[in-house]
C-alpha cells in the first residue's frame, strides 16, 4: 500500500471538456519530489500553461526518460509515458510519426538529455519534430543521489567527483543551436509568469520548442542558479529577450547590450553613460548568430525566447511524402502477386 503510487482511475470523458485552471491538469497522484525542489514550481507553471492553452488532456502526451524530472508525467492528468533513461526523444519521435496531431511534451533532466540522451536530442532537433522539450537543468544527477552531471561546473564536489568535477560542462544552449535547433528559450524555475509565457511560445512553435529551465535541486546542488535568480541581483543578472525589443537589463532597463563588431562579441553598457542609445541591440530571435552570442552570455544571463526560426517539421514532411495510399485488399493482393508470375 505504502508502496504504490496511485494511478487515477480513467477519467470520465466529460472531465476532459475544456478545463480552464491549472488544477484541472493535476493528476491524482501524490507528488513525490523532495520538499523545496524546484520541480514543484515547474509543475505548476506547466499546468497553468496547459490551462491557458485550453489543452485537451486526452490529446496531450507527456513523455520522459528517467530522473527526478522524469517523474513529471505522473503529475499531469494527460497521457503519460515514463520511459527509460535518455530515450524519451526517440520514443516521442515515434509518437509524433504515428499521430502527428497529438500534443507532445518531453520532460528531461540534464543527465537524461545531455549525458546518455545527447544523441537522440541531436537528431530530434535536426529533424525539428513538433513538440515541446523541457530540460530541467539542475546541474546534477538528482535521482541517483548527487553525482556530477554533464552541466556540472568544473570543481563541483559530488560522490563521483570527490576531488571536484574535472571536465568542461556541456552548454545546453550552445548545444541546442549547434544541433540546428529551431527554438531555444531559457527560464528559471522560480519565474512563474515568464515560464508560462515561454512555454506557450514553445508550444506555438512549429518544431521542437526547446526550453531550458534553470532548476534548483535543493538536496544535491542547492543554489546552482542563485546568482541569476537572487532577488537582489536579478535585475543585473537577468536579460529578458523579447523579439523586436531592445536588449536591456538592469534596474529600470538602464543597461543594454551592443555588438563589438571587431571582437564579434556582445558587450554590456549603459546607454547615455558609456555609449549611445542607438547602439542598443534589438532582439531578433530569428538571427541564429545573435542567438549564439546571447545564449553564451553569462553576466547578464539571457532569458526568454532566445531563438526561434521557421523550418520544416519532420513528421509533416514524412506524411507529406507518403505516396497515395493503396489500402484496399485488391491493391495488396496485387502487391503479393508481383509482376512476374507463372502458373503450374
Amino acid at each position: 500500500m505504502s508502496d504504490t503510487l496511485d494511478q487515477a482511475v480513467p477519467a470520465a470523458p466529460e472531465r476532459s471538456a475544456s478545463p480552464r485552471t491549472a488544477k484541472d491538469y493535476a493528476s491524482d497522484m501524490e507528488v513525490r519530489w523532495c520538499p523545496g525542489c524546484g520541480d514543484y514550481a515547474i509543475l505548476k507553471a506547466v499546468q497553468k500553461t496547459l490551462a491557458e492553452l485550453e489543452a485537451d488532456p486526452d490529446r496531450t502526451v507527456f513523455l520522459s526518460g528517467i530522473g527526478c524530472a522524469a517523474r513529471f508525467p505522473y503529475y499531469v492528468d494527460t497521457y503519460g509515458f515514463h520511459t527509460i533513461h535518455g530515450r524519451a526523444a526517440a520514443i516521442a519521435t515515434g509518437v509524433k510519426l504515428a499521430q502527428p496531431e497529438l500534443d507532445v511534451w518531453v520532460v528531461s533532466g540534464d543527465g537524461d538529455s545531455l549525458s546518455i540522451g545527447g544523441n537522440h536530442l541531436l537528431h530530434l532537433l535536426r529533424r525539428n519534430v513538433d513538440l515541446v522539450y523541457l530540460l530541467f537543468n539542475n546541474e546534477v544527477y538528482g535521482l541517483t543521489k548527487g553525482q556530477a552531471s554533464p552541466t556540472s561546473p568544473v570543481g563541483q564536489v559530488t560522490p563521483s567527483t570527490p576531488g571536484g568535477s574535472l571536465d568542461a560542462p556541456v552548454h545546453a544552449g550552445r548545444y541546442v543551436l549547434g544541433c540546428g535547433g529551431t527554438f531555444f528559450a531559457r527560464v528559471p524555475d522560480v519565474a512563474q509568469a515568464q515560464q508560462v509565457e515561454v512555454m506557450k511560445a514553445a508550444h506555438a512553435h512549429a518544431g521542437t520548442g526547446f526550453v531550458e529551465i534553470l532548476q534548483n535541486c535543493i538536496v544535491y546542488h542547492d543554489g546552482a542558479w542563485s546568482t541569476v535568480t537572487d532577488k537582489k541581483t536579478a535585475a543585473e543578472r537577468q536579460l529578458w529577450c523579447r523579439h523586436g525589443e531592445p536588449l536591456r537589463f538592469g534596474e529600470g532597463g538602464a543597461k543594454a547590450l551592443r555588438l563589438n563588431a571587431a571582437a564579434l562579441t556582445l558587450e554590456a553598457f549603459t546607454p547615455g553613460v558609456d555609449g549611445e542609445a542607438a547602439e542598443v541591440l534589438v532582439h531578433d530571435a530569428g538571427n541564429p548568430m545573435l542567438a549564439r552570442l546571447l545564449c553564451e552570455l553569462d553576466e547578464p544571463t539571457a532569458l526568454g525566447v532566445i531563438h526561434r526560426r521557421d523550418a520544416a517539421v519532420s513528421e509533416r514532411r514524412h506524411h507529406a511524402a507518403r505516396p497515395p495510399q493503396r489500402r484496399e485488399p485488391a491493391a495488396l493482393q496485387e502487391l503479393l502477386n508481383g509482376s512476374d508470375t507463372w502458373r503450374i
Partner: protein, 612 residues
Amino acid sequence: MDEPKLGEGALVVRFAGDSGDGIQLTGTRFTAAAAFTGADVSTFPDFPAEIRAPAGTTYGVSAFQIQIGRRTVRTPGDRVDVLVALNPAALMVNLDELRPGGVIVADSAAFTDRNLKKAGYAASPLDDGSLDGYRLVALDVTKLTAEAVKPAGVKARDAGRARNFWTLGLVLWLTGGDVAKSAAWIAERFKANAQLVDANTRALEAGHAFGDTAELARVEPVLEAGPSPLPGGRYRSISGADALCLGLVTGAHLADLELVYGSYPITPASSMLHGLARLGAYGVDVFQAEDEIAAIGVALGASYAGKLGITGSSGPGMALKTEMLGLALAAELPLVVIDAQRGGPSTGLPTKTEQSDLLQAVLGRNADSPLPVLAAATPHDAFEMAIEAIRLAVRAMTPVILLTDGFLANATEPWAIPDLAALAPIERPPHGTRQPYEHDPETLARPWIPAGTPGLRHRIGGLERQDGTGSVSYEPANHQRMTELRHARVARLADAVAEQAFEAGGTDDDILVVGWGSTYGALTSAVDQLRGEGLKVAQLHLRHLSPLPRNLGDLLAAFDRVLVAELNMGQLALLLQGRYARPVASLTKVAGRPFGIGEIKNRVRAELGVEA
C-alpha cells in the same frame, strides 16, 4: 557417395565472376527462366564483403548458386554441377565445390597473365591440365559477345556488359532451356533504350545458339518443359527478405493496423529497410533512425500511439535494443522485432550466415523478461511468420522477436501466391473502459489504449506496475504477481499456436532430428534421403522457440535419440535440455555457411551406428 548424381532430376549451377560482371543479374534471370518451366528452384547469392573490390581479386568474387529440380529441391545444393567462371579468381575460389566431372564454363579472355596472378595462379589452369577431372568449356566469351552484339552498334562498354547475357544464353542451352523468358525480360527492362535491347538480346541468343551450333553436349535438360514437382497454382519467385516485408504488410492489413518500421542500416537486415521503404503506399512508414536504440524507440512510440511498431536489425544492433525491449515488455505494448542473424561475436562476419542469436532472443535481457520468439524456415515461411509475429504481439500485448538470417534473407524460391481473402483476420480486442493494466483472464493481455484515446488517459512506464490500475508499485506481492503474469502471458501463447507436427516420420522412428530456422531445407532434404535409404529418421522443425510448442516435451520424450542441428554452438540444444531436462545430441556448425545435406546425413548415420 552421398550426393544424388547428375541425372537424378536436379542440377546445381553456380555463376561466379567479378562483382562488376553482373553475376547476380545472370543468376536471377536464370532462376526466373528455370522457375517458369515449372521446375523447383532454390538459390544462394554470395556477395563479397567489400563494396566494390578491385577487379580480378579473389575477395572480390561474386557468386550465385541455384539448384533446379524436376523434383522438389530445398537447398541450393551441396556441390556444384556447372560452374561458370568469368575470370581466374572466380575459378580459384569456387573450384573446391565443383563435383568431380562437373562442367566448367570459363571465359578464356579473362585468363590474362595479370588476372591469373591476381588470382594466385602460376599458370593458366585452362591449359596446364589441372582441370582434367572436369568437363572444361573454355571459350572466348568476351570476343564471341563482341561479335554477336556488333550489329546493334552499341559502345564497347555496353558490349562488354552484354557478356553476362551471352553466358546466360549458353547456360540456358546447356540445361535444356530456351531464351524466350529472358528475352522478354530484356525487352521490358531496357525498353527506354532500343539499342541496348537489341545488343543484349543478340548476346543472349548468340550464347544459346553457340551451344547448339558448337554441338556442346547438354548437361542435363532440367529446363525442358515437363511435369512440375510443385502443387498447382500461381507462382512467383520470392526471397526471404521480400517475403518478410510482404508478410508484415499483410499482417498489418489483417489486423487493420498501419505499420511504423524504425530501423538503422545493418547487414543483412538492411534488405528489410529497403524493401519496406518502397511500400509506403500500403500503410507503411519507414523511419531510418540515428541508431538501433532510437529505431526501436520510434517503433515503440508508434505502438504507444496506436500504430504497430516494427524494428529490424542484426546481432550487434539487437544487442543495443536490449534495454528498450525490456521497456516494451514492462509497458506491455505490442512490437515486432526482426533479427536477421549473421556471424559473430561482435562485428564478426557481417555477410555470413549463422543462427547464433537464439539465446540472446529468448533469454538475453536483464531481469526475468520473457517474450515470444519465432523463427522463419524458408522464404515463404518468412511471409507466414511475419503475420504470426504480428498476431502474437497484438494478442498478448508484447514485443515478439522473429529470427531470420543472412542466408534466408537472400535465398529465393518459387512461391505459391497466397489469396489474401483466405487469410484469417487478426483480432484486436477492443479496450473498452478496462483499466490500463487490467489483464484479460484468457490472454493475460492488458488493453491497448493508444495515446490520444478520448476519456482513457493514463500513465505507463518502466517502473513496476500494479496489476490492474497500472500505478507504480513497489509492493513485494505485486511484483511477484506481475513477474508470474509476464511469464504466464508468454507461456499461454502456446495454446494459441498449433501443436508441433512432424516434418517427417513419427514417434516410431529411431532418431528424431530437430532444427529451426533456415536450416530447414538442408535438414528436410537429408532426412528425406535417409528415409529413402530406409533409415528410421523422424524430423521436427521449430518455428516457435518461445514459448515452445505445448506438445514438444512429449514428442522429445518419445525418442531415445534426439539430434538437434543448428548453425551455432548448440543453443537450441541447451534450451531444450534446460526446459525438458532430457539429454539431446547436438550437431553444430559455425563456419558462416549453411549446412550441407551430406554433413547432416553423416551425423545421423553416426548416431544410428550405420555406415554410409
